[in-house]
Symmetry: C2
Subunit: 168 residues, 2 copies
């Protein structure tokens, strides 16, 4: 059983957070909510409230087995925080599994970890992903090394399937 950091802040996409987290917990894994301020509450686009367990500046990739980044507009807000960017980059340096859906790729671009990778993401990011030196793949899920990525809510079942495979 593994410990998964979920990094998120306000305006995360509710379903992209909820369904994977339910599946990860059902499989016996532990979820830790990592955000900007420990003890604060953040809200999804559709109002889902989440309690932030740990501040991102107080944790490292060493503390977790994997990282999950839900989409929505949360990644746009997280990518301006240097600690969040450093935390995400650490998972790639240590080659630990990273699960990224929809707008999550924005955080990966700022962390500068996409060069030469194959990535699925929300279609608004196609040009940003190509400009970051990666290949945009229009498939429901793409596995490239430690990175599992998907485009949108409809892809969640395939995304969960490949994420669980990385954790087994």
């Amino acid at each position: 059983m593994k410990t998964i950091a979920v990094i998120l802040t306000d305006m995360f996409q509710d379903v992209e957070y909820q369904l994977p987290v339910v599946a990860f917990r059902k499989a016996g894994h532990t979820i830790v909510h990592v955000g900007l301020v420990a003890g604060s509450m953040v809200k999804g686009e559709y109002g889902t409230p989440i309690h932030i367990d740990k501040a991102v500046r107080a944790v490292t990739a060493e503390d977790f087995d994997a990282l999950f980044i839900p989409g929505g507009y949360s990644p746009d807000k997280l990518r301006i925080d240097p600690d969040a960017v450093r935390f995400v980059r650490d998972f790639f340096t240590k080659e630990k599994p990273v699960f990224a859906i929809c707008h999550a790729a924005q955080l990966l671009i700022t962390a500068d970890v996409l060069k030469g990778r194959r990535v699925a993401a929300w279609m608004s990011l196609v040009q940003d992903i190509k400009n970051a030196g990666a290949e945009y793949v229009d498939k429901e899920v793409v596995v490239d090394g430690n990175l599992v990525s998907s485009r949108k809510p409809a892809d969640i079942p395939a995304f969960i399937h490949e994420a669980l495979a990385k954790l087994s």
Copy 2:
């Protein structure tokens, strides 16, 4: 007196839309709201309702003297529409004034018009702008050829000043 297209859809940043539009109208210019569906209503992040006058697929840069792109999450939604991207690109091809604030630069990246340019934008886009071949400039307003760009709501007075200068 000039005719300015404002391109926007849901979740535009309310103040970044309102203050420039008030200033443009006060200076005697005409505003046309261009969006995805003519006759539809769109809403700002804070609820401002706007009636869309023209569908972007039914207009060209020929119909206007300048383009204004407010920020917020509206540009993220517009950049997946090929007609919106083509419309924005046309203003650059014809070297007509473009006023872009905050997240507006996302639409410019997809339109592939930033190579070699100096641009101000919301700080979450720094890496996307560099990857697009442009120089990110951390100033309240940057004028580079036909493009006037600013970072955020606090920059609006300087943004309006330079935009009005381009229209005179």
